[in-house]
C-alpha cells in the first residue's frame, strides 16, 4: 500500500493535503499493527507469551503464571492462586465478551516481576473493546449467577487499568499490578 502512495507522489509531484493526511493516518495504523504491543520498560524479570482466544488456553495461562512465579522464587501459594484467578478472569472476559465468536485471535501476556515489590501483568488483545459496567463490581453478596468475574479481578489485584484500542489495528491493553509487599512467604 505504501508503494502505491509513493508512486502517486512521484507521478503527481504535487502537494495534496487530503492525500497526505490519509497517507499519514494509514502509516500510523500500519506502524501500530506491525509494532508488537509492549508494556513500558519496567525493571525486573520480564516474560512474554502469546495465547489463542480459546477457553482451553486458560489452563496454560495459569500454568505459565505459576511457573514464572516459582522461577522468581515467589513461593506464596496464596499470592500465586489469587494472581492466577485474576488473570484467568481477565482472559475469560477477553475470550467470551471481547473476541466472542472470532477464532485464532491473539492474547499477549507480559509478566514483569519486580523482586520484593510485585508483579506487573500486561494483557494485549485485538478484540472489540469491552467496557466493564461499574455496577457489576458490586455483585458479590447477592444470588446472581454471573457478574463475579470483574469483582474477582478487582479484589484480587492491587491496581487495574483498561486502555481500549484506538483503531482497528491497535491493541487493547489491560494492566494489572499485584503487590508482594506485606505478603509473608507461606
Amino acid at each position: 500500500m505504501n508503494r502505491l502512495y509513493i508512486s502517486y507522489f512521484r507521478r503527481n509531484n504535487k502537494y495534496d493535503k487530503w492525500f497526505l493526511y490519509k497517507f499519514l493516518l494509514d502509516m500510523k495504523q500500519e506502524i501500530e499493527h506491525l509494532q508488537h504491543p509492549t508494556s513500558a520498560t519496567r525493571s525486573g524479570v520480564h516474560t512474554r507469551v502469546c495465547f489463542k482466544n480459546s477457553v482451553h488456553e486458560l489452563f496454560r495461562i495459569r500454568e505459565f503464571l505459576s511457573k514464572v512465579c516459582y522461577q522468581c522464587q515467589i513461593m506464596n501459594e496464596n499470592f500465586i492462586s489469587e494472581l492466577e484467578l485474576c488473570v484467568h478472569e481477565a482472559c475469560t472476559n477477553i475470550i467470551l465478551h471481547g473476541y466472542e465468536s472470532e477464532q485464532d485471535m491473539p492474547i499477549i501476556l507480559e509478566c514483569t516481576i519486580e523482586k520484593d515489590k510485585g508483579l506487573h501483568i500486561d494483557l494485549f488483545d485485538q478484540a472489540t473493546p469491552f467496557a466493564p459496567d461499574p455496577s457489576q463490581f458490586l455483585n458479590y453478596e447477592n444470588e446472581l449467577e454471573s457478574g463475579r468475574g470483574l469483582f474477582l479481578m478487582r479484589e484480587l489485584s492491587d491496581y487495574l487499568e483498561f486502555r481500549p484500542r484506538k483503531s482497528k489495528n491497535s491493541w487493547n491493553h489491560l494492566y494489572i499490578f499485584k503487590s508482594l509487599i506485606g505478603k509473608e512467604k507461606k
Binding site: 477457553v55 482451553h56 486458560l58 489452563f59 495459569r62 501459594e77 496464596n78 492462586s81 489469587e82 492466577e84 484467578l85 484467568h88 478472569e89 475469560t92 467470551l96 458479590y140 453478596e141 444470588e143 446472581l144 449467577e145 454471573s146 457478574g147 463475579r148 468475574g149 469483582f151 474477582l152 479484589e155 484480587l156
Partner: protein
Amino acid sequence: MKTHLNLEHKIKDGILIITFPYTQLEIGEAQNFKESCVSLIENNDAIKVVFQLENLQFIDSSGLGSFISILKMLRAKGGDLKLCNMSKAVRSIFEVVRMYKLFEIYPTQEDAIQSFQI
C-alpha cells in the same frame, strides 16, 4: 453435545451427597457440571444436597455461578445445598466473593449431614 459428567454420589438419611471428581471447575465445564447435578438431583428426587469438595483446587466465576444456580433451585423447593471438605484455596475464593454468606460450609461430610437434621 456434551454428555453429563459421571458424578460419584450416594444417598444417606435422605440427603444426596455428590463428590466433585476433578481438581478444577471453570468456564469450559461449569455448565456441564450444573446440568449433571440438576439431572442427578431430579432423578433422585432430592432437595437436600451436600457437595463434597475435597478434590477441588481451583474454581472460577463460572464455577461459582453453577453452585449458586443449584443452591437457588434447591431453596426454591424448600431444600438446601451445603458444602464440605473444601480446600484452603477454594475456601479463600469463597471468602473473596463473600459467598460463605450464601452457603453453609462444613469441615466434614458428617457435619454437613448433621446440620440438615437440626
